[in-house]
Structures are given as structure tokens and as C-alpha cells.
């Protein structure tokens, strides 16, 4: 399809909305679906069909964030949001559409959880119908791609992405523009673009939500990247544990191909780009670039030493660009609104916004997108609403098995790549697990070490043996069998694993342990014993 034809599709969809703006959006992301939002949507649709006096139309839309209170239902153009909506609430809700809104199940959209958010990646999730490309087009989708392939040179795009200051959202924080430029400059007969959607951090579900709610935004980001670096084929590496995301991505690829937005001669230009899905099979280490490439090549997901980096020698030895889901999802907005707009958000070093998955012992579990540089206190206490049932928050874990725990007295820290690293944690992909006073930090450290031990691919000794030994030592501490000497050995071993492991998994595996030792050493010491098995402290 030509850009004009696509604009017409978008316009037709927009006109339909202008003609009938009364819409009820029901969240159809996995979180709400498992609270039976699918049933809610169907009941609403049948109820509305019978009521000629209420001119509303019910549609399935994307994630609205407050997963703790799903299913969420929005009412447009009134701008209302209802929480915990069950099948039984539908009659009252439908009746209220003609009169005054039901009060009891309404969300306060002025509450910090909603009002503090700045949405780029999650933008318009409450409007976009995930399974319809027309809906994405009507909400400004594929505008960036159309502009790029018809009007802009690859150099111009590289420059724009570089100036925006966007950094890799998978956790490492490598400047995206630089990565793109390296691939663009690399020589190779073929080049590839890979989207890393193997969200392995246990306790993170940001990517899942983006994949399920706006699959086209990721495809658009990938296609722009491919145009900029000169790639002709791409792979989306998705966790097999996310069946809904896989299903929607497959559908989105088919739709985009049909509309001429993927495949040969995109938008009538000379640029061609094809995307295929590859299913992950449950290996955390496949988040590492070279391990992910091995997995796409049908092998065990084991990393190899770098350099050469995938930007020079990646998939089947060709220059390959690998970015995370959230990184690609930022790209269309940057190109439509400009690098300056993006760079105006965030801090000096960390630009833009970041999506976080708030979970654990916190009232408002769910997804939030906030500008970089916001304080952890604002996120946890104001937006998250503190701990439930009168408990007090003790610490927040960021970055999953590669990150660390930040104690509550340090919550004034600014949330950006550098500050979190200084604190002994990392930004990570965006999982934020809140713990209250009932959580034992030794137990948390043991939990993550068990994870790393079992997820270690076994290729290098420091990681394979080191994580296993550290786990055993932590078990001894927990069972009150360890001495001060063991604690020293833990620290030495951590240093060894950190500095000598082959890939990021091993290098960062000691982080949860080290950070809890740094801030909660007394919890370890309380469990230590002397040579007679008597408690020391």
C-alpha cells in the first residue's frame, strides 16, 4: 500500500471514532484476562446490543497499568476508569452510562499512580486495540516508518537516534545510536535486526505488556532500525511462556505484510524487510546477546567471548543489531516528535522515560512509565501507595538476578542508570520488587543465587562452580551453620565470580548477595555461629 492509501485507512478509522466517540475499553492484556476480562468484554457487548438508548461500543484495548485491580474498564470520552469490574457489575455500569457514573469502583485518575506517569512506550495503550492494525494506524502508528522510508536518509535517522540520547532498555544502558551506527558501518553481505523479547528477569512483565498491547509499535521500531542500518531480515526472539504475546505478534506480522509495511518494497519504496518469530525455550542466559544468537541458530544458548561484538559478527557471522523490546518501542515516537523532545525528558546521562513493573509487597502493583531521574521514594511510596496491611517497606529490588536491593533509607536516590549502579544495583529491564519487614534478606539473596546457579549455562567455571558454591554457603548461613570465616569466603568468592565470569550472567550474579551484605549485614551476622555451634551475636 502507498502512504496515501494507509493514511486513508487511518482516516476512516478516526472518522468512525469521531462519529461514535462513546467507547468502553476493556483491558485485554494477560493480567486482566486472567481475572476474566474476556468474559467482562463479552457480557458488555451483549448488554450494549440490547440497549439502543446507550450509544456505547465495547472494545478490547491494551494494558491500563493498575494490574492489582484488574479487570480495568475505561469509558470514553468521559475519561473514567473502573477497577475490579466483574460480570455482575455490568448491568449497573451500563445503566450508569445514561445517567451518572458509578462511584464505588472508580479509579482516581488524579492519584499519583496515574498523574505522575509520562507515557512514550505505553502511550495510547488505553485506545489501541491490539489485534487491529487499523486501530494502531488511527493512533499515529507507522507514521514514523512511512516518513523514514519515503523522506529520510539512514544517516539522518542515525543522527536523530544518537541525539535523542536513547540508551538500551534491556538493562545495560548502551547508547542505542552508537550501536546502530556500528552496525550501519559494518561490512557484510546481509545484516540482521533482532528484537530481544526473552524477558527472563523473574518479576518483570513490562515487555510482555508491550508485546501484547502494541505489537505493531515494536515491528515499526524494528523496521526503522533495519532501514537505518541496512538490514533486510529480522527476528523477534520471544519467550514461549508468553503464548498471548506470540499469538498477537504473529497476527501483527501478517497484518503488516498485508498492508505493505513489512516485506518487499515497504510503502512503495526500495526498502524491504521481513520479520520472523523465534520462540525462546526458557533459558535466562539467552538474554545475553551472543547466547541469544546461538539460540536463534538452533543451538544451546551459550555465550561466547566478545569481541567480536554482534554488531560486527552476529547471526551466522553477519553484522547484527540486537535491541530490547522497550528500546524499539521508543523509536517511532523519537522520529515523529524529534530527538530534542525526547532528550528534554530525564537526566543529563539518562534520557527519556522508563517502564517499571511494580510488584511484591506493595499496594498498587502494576505497570508504570516515569521520566528518568524520578526518586525511588516517589515511585514506591507515592505512586505505589506503600505496603499493604500496615506493613512497612524495607527494601526494593531492581534489576532482578543481576541487580541489588536498595534499603528504604536510601529511597531518595534518583532512578537513572548511573545512580542505581553506584548503589550496587542496576537499572535492569525494569522489574521492581518491593519487600516489607517480613522478608529476610538472606533468603532473598539465596533465592537469586539459586536462580543463577540453575540458569548458569555451564560454559565457564567461575559461574558454573562459583554460583553453586555461593548457594551452598548461603544455605549454611540460613541454617545457622556458618561462621564469620564463611562470610569472608562468601565475599572473596563473590569478587572472583564477578571479575572472571565469561558473560553478564556470572559477572552480575553476586550483585543481590553483595548489596544485601552491604545494607543488611546484621541479618547475616545474626545467623552466624562459632566453632561450637553457638550463636555469635
Amino acid at each position: 500500500m502507498t502512504p496515501e492509501a494507509l493514511q486513508q485507512v487511518a482516516k476512516a478509522e478516526q472518522d468512525a471514532i469521531t462519529k461514535q466517540p462513546q467507547r468502553i475499553g476493556v483491558c485485554t492484556a494477560a493480567g486482566c484476562l486472567s481475572c476474566k476480562s474476556g468474559e467482562v468484554l463479552k457480557t458488555l457487548q451483549t448488554a450494549l446490543e440490547r440497549r439502543a438508548d446507550v450509544p456505547y461500543k465495547a472494545v478490547g484495548v491494551g494494558c491500563m497499568g493498575l494490574c492489582a485491580h484488574g479487570p480495568l474498564v475505561s469509558v470514553e470520552p468521559d475519561g473514567l476508569l473502573y477497577q475490579d469490574v466483574g460480570k455482575d457489575d455490568i448491568p449497573a455500569l451500563v445503566d450508569s452510562l445514561a445517567t451518572t457514573p458509578v462511584m464505588e469502583k472508580q479509579c482516581d485518575l488524579k492519584a499519583p499512580f496515574f498523574s505522575r506517569q509520562v507515557k512514550v512506550v505505553l502511550d495510547k495503550f488505553e485506545k489501541i486495540q491490539p489485534e487491529r492494525i487499523e486501530s494502531y494506524l488511527a493512533n499515529g502508528g507507522y507514521e514514523a516508518l512511512m516518513q523514514c522510508v519515503t523522506n529520510r536518509s539512514p544517516e539522518h535517522i542515525l543522527d536523530e537516534v544518537k541525539r535523542s540520547g536513547l540508551r538500551g532498555r534491556g538493562g545495560g544502558g548502551y547508547p542505542t545510536g552508537l550501536k546502530w551506527e556500528t552496525v550501519a558501518k559494518a561490512h557484510g553481505a546481509r545484516k540482521f535486526v533482532i528484537c530481544n523479547a526473552d524477558e527472563g528477569d523473574p518479576g518483570a512483565f513490562m515487555d510482555r505488556s508491550v508485546l501484547e498491547c502494541a505489537p505493531h509499535r515494536i515491528l515499526e521500531g524494528m523496521a526503522i532500525a533495519a532501514y537505518a542500518v541496512g538490514a533486510t531480515a529480522g527476528y523477534l526472539y520471544v519467550r514461549a511462556e508468553y503464548p498471548l504475546a506470540v499469538q498477537r505478534l504473529k497476527l501483527a506480522i501478517r497484518q503488516a505484510e498485508k498492508f505493505g509495511l513489512l516485506g518487499d518494497h515497504i510503502c512503495g519504496s526500495s526498502f524491504s524487510f521481513k520479520v520472523e518469530i523465534r520462540l525462546g525455550a526458557g533459558a535466562f542466559v539467552c538474554g545475553e546477546e551472543t547466547a541469544l544468537i546461538a539460540s536463534i541458530e538452533g543451538r544451546r544458548g551459550q555465550p561466547r567471548p566478545r569481541p567480536p561484538f554482534p554488531a560486527e559478527k552476529g547471526l551466522w557471522g553477519n553484522p547484527t543489531l540486537i535491541n530490547n523490546v522497550e528500546t524499539f518501542a521508543n523509536v517511532p515516537a523519537i522520529l515523529v516528535k524529534g530527538a530534542d523532545w525526547f532528550a528534554a525528558m530525564g537526566t543529563e546521562q539518562s534520557k527519556g522515560t522508563k517502564v517499571f513493573a511494580l510488584a511484591g509487597k506493595i499496594n498498587n502493583t502494576g505497570l508504570i512509565e516515569v521520566p528518568m531521574g524520578i526518586s525511588l521514594r516517589e515511585i514506591v511510596e507515592e505512586m505505589g501507595g506503600g505496603a499493604p496491611d500496615g506493613h512497612t517497606i524495607k527494601a526494593v529490588q531492581t534489576g532482578g538476578p543481576s541487580g541489588g536491593c536498595i534499603p528504604s533509607d536510601r529511597f531518595d536516590i534518583s532512578v537513572d542508570y548511573e545512580s542505581l549502579k553506584k548503589m550496587g544495583s542496576i537499572m535492569g529491564s525494569g522489574g521492581m520488587i518491593v519487600m516489607d519487614e517480613t522478608s529476610s534478606m538472606v533468603d532473598v539473596a539465596r533465592f537469586f543465587m539459586e536462580f543463577c546457579k540453575s540458569e548458569s549455562c555451564g560454559k565457564c567455571v567461575p559461574c558454573r562452580v562459583g554460583t553453586s558454591q555461593l548457594y551452598d554457603l548461603l544455605e549454611r548461613v540460613r541454617k545457622k551453620r556458618a561462621s564469620h570465616r564463611d562470610l569472608e569466603r562468601i565475599e572473596q568468592l563473590c569478587e572472583m565470580v564477578r571479575t572472571t565470569s565469561l558473560c553478564g550472567l556470572g559477572q552480575t550474579a553476586p550483585n543481590p548477595l553483595l548489596s544485601t551484605l552491604k545494607f543488611f549485614r546484621h541479618e547475616y551476622e545474626e545467623l552466624l555461629v562459632d566453632q561450637h555451634g553457638e550463636a555469635v551475636s
Partner: protein, 163 residues
């Protein structure tokens, strides 16, 4: 998902689904993981005879096929019971007491993670994270996610399943 132990060789009809995936990838060795996914989707698990057949078709050593099938947690080499219960062990679920759920299931049915009851009624598994952290602790029983669930409720839910 109800897996019945089958001799893959004698089940040509279902094998065609696996064959289709290999054909689409041009019987190229790179398609190994895709093919194993197809085997598991079709039969519920990956047994030795299917591994041999995949190795033959893709011209790969059996050791490589076995290596890949055992490397990834998602692949199962044993058939599952008639019902499956996956307890999420992601950080959020763990913090909110997933281990208590595991313990309660063990007490009630005598099965630990990765085990199946002797009568093939129930398989219990753990997942690294099912991505439903907003509903922690979460359990997936026969593909249905049960969120904000207490140990007793899980046991009762399983007991109510048809045998």
C-alpha cells in the same frame, strides 16, 4: 495438553505437523529448536524416538538434539499427568509466599516440583516467572491463571478437577 505416551514412529498423522515445520525451514539444522517446540506442542513431551527422528531429518547428531532438548527448561522429556499445576516462582510470587503453596501441594498430593502423581492425575511444575507479577502469588492450573491465591485454595481447586 493431555499427554498420552505414544510411540512417535507409529503416529504418522500427528508427525506431519512436525514435518511441516521442518519443511518450512528447509530441513536446516538451525530449525532444531523450532522443531522441538513443534514436537512438544504435538505430543506434549519429547521422547527418545522423536529425538532420533528429528536428528535424522535435520541431519544432526543425536547428541546435539539431546543436548539442546535438555538445555532448555521449557522442553519436557517425560509425559505430563492429565492435569498440570505450574507454581510461579518469580520474585514477586516468591516474596508473597509461593514456597508455602509448593509445600501445601506436597502435603496434600505427595508431589514435588517436576513430579507426577503415580496415577498420572497431576503433574506439578514450577515456572521461572509467568509474567503475572501483578497477581502474585500466581498458579497456572491447566492453562488457567489463578492469581492472588492462597495455598488452601490451590489445593481445593486441584481437588475439584475431574479425574
Amino acid at each position: 495438553m493431555n499427554a498420552v505416551e505414544t510411540n512417535v514412529i507409529g503416529d504418522e498423522k500427528r508427525w506431519r505437523l512436525v514435518e511441516a515445520v521442518m519443511r518450512r525451514c528447509g530441513y536446516c539444522g538451525d530449525a532444531l529448536i523450532e522443531t522441538l517446540h513443534a514436537v512438544q506442542e504435538t505430543y506434549g513431551f519429547i521422547d527418545e524416538s522423536s529425538m532420533r527422528r528429528v536428528a535424522d531429518s535435520l541431519k544432526l547428531p543425536l547428541s546435539k538434539v539431546y543436548g539442546v532438548a535438555t538445555f532448555y527448561h521449557f522442553f519436557h522429556l517425560k509425559p505430563k499427568g492429565r492435569h498440570t499445576c505450574v507454581v510461579c516462582m518469580g520474585t514477586a510470587c516468591y516474596i508473597k509466599g509461593a514456597d508455602a503453596i509448593m509445600q501445601k501441594i506436597d502435603d496434600a498430593f505427595g508431589v514435588k516440583a517436576g513430579e507426577t502423581t503415580p496415577d498420572d492425575h497431576l503433574s506439578v511444575m514450577t515456572a521461572r516467572c509467568v509474567g503475572s507479577c501483578g497477581l502474585a502469588p500466581a498458579v497456572v492450573v491447566d492453562q488457567q491463571v489463578l492469581g492472588h491465591i492462597k495455598p488452601d485454595q490451590v489445593v481445593n481447586h486441584i481437588k475439584e478437577l475431574e479425574s
